[in-house]
């Protein structure tokens, strides 16, 4: 296995839906080098995809002149992912989707991305830049979760 601890990989994708798959593939490659199981890699791929989709749609408002930055940093027992955009960040914490309300048309069928991110990784936090120059979501996925 390639030694990855302390390394950092950065990807910039255009604010166009579909390009989240580039970030997904990169995250999966780094996680595979780090020795994560296939199951955890699938969790990471979905969390990274949803974070990028939020950044593209809501953060950068689909403005293709703006890019979404993705930084993957490896530590001894974990992988951290930061997904950065130019938006103001979120004002409400993620909520668990209510399938009954969705199926009965009382809640938007969409709006599950942040919930999935939080449910699939070990840590997720949404951070606004203190200078108002954008925001990012920080995800952490740990190797030791394998044995839980």
């Amino acid at each position: 296995m390639v030694e990855t601890t302390g390394t950092s990989v950065e990807v910039r994708i255009p604010s166009r839906l579909g390009f989240e798959k580039v970030a997904m593939a990169t995250a999966a490659s780094v996680a595979r080098l780090k020795g994560f199981s296939d199951e955890r890699i699938e969790d990471l791929k979905t969390a990274v995809a949803e974070a990028c989709i939020n950044a593209i749609e809501h953060g950068n408002q689909l403005n293709e002149k703006l890019s979404v930055g993705v930084i993957l940093s490896t530590r001894a027992d974990e992988l951290e992912v930061k997904v950065m955009d130019n938006g103001a960040g979120i004002s409400k914490p993620p909520h668990k989707p209510d399938i009954d309300r969705k199926v009965h048309g009382e809640e938007d069928a969409r709006g599950m991305g942040m919930f999935l991110i939080q449910a699939l990784v070990d840590e997720a936090e949404w951070v606004r830049d203190s200078k108002g120059k954008g925001s990012y979501v920080r995800l952490v996925i740990r190797l030791d979760k394998e044995n839980e």
Binding site: L17, T46, I99, D100, V103, L116
Partner: protein, 117 residues
Amino acid sequence: MQTETRATIDRTSGPNGASIAVLRFSGDISSASKEPVLGAWQNVAGSGPVLLDFSKVDYINSSGIALIIQILMEADKTGQKVAAFGLSPHFQKVFTMVGIGKYAGLHKDEATAAASL
């Protein structure tokens, strides 16, 4: 960048010989999939039980899951039974997390899904 969504309509038989429509999806299911997914559904809406086949789907994101929920909304209005099969273990977990299993049984294969309707 996105792989095109394809949806075909097939027919199979339930355990009592009743005809069951099967919507077979392939490619990605995302926000760009509204027309193929909901268009295929319109061809079977209101006409008996339906199976959703995900065995050839490579990628589903939350916008794609929302389209499946729209199918379940339509089915719920008319009492139409829906079951799904062929999801990868990861997407079976994701569908369960968001509660889809309450409105559509999630099965490993077509025979089990058909037998559940």
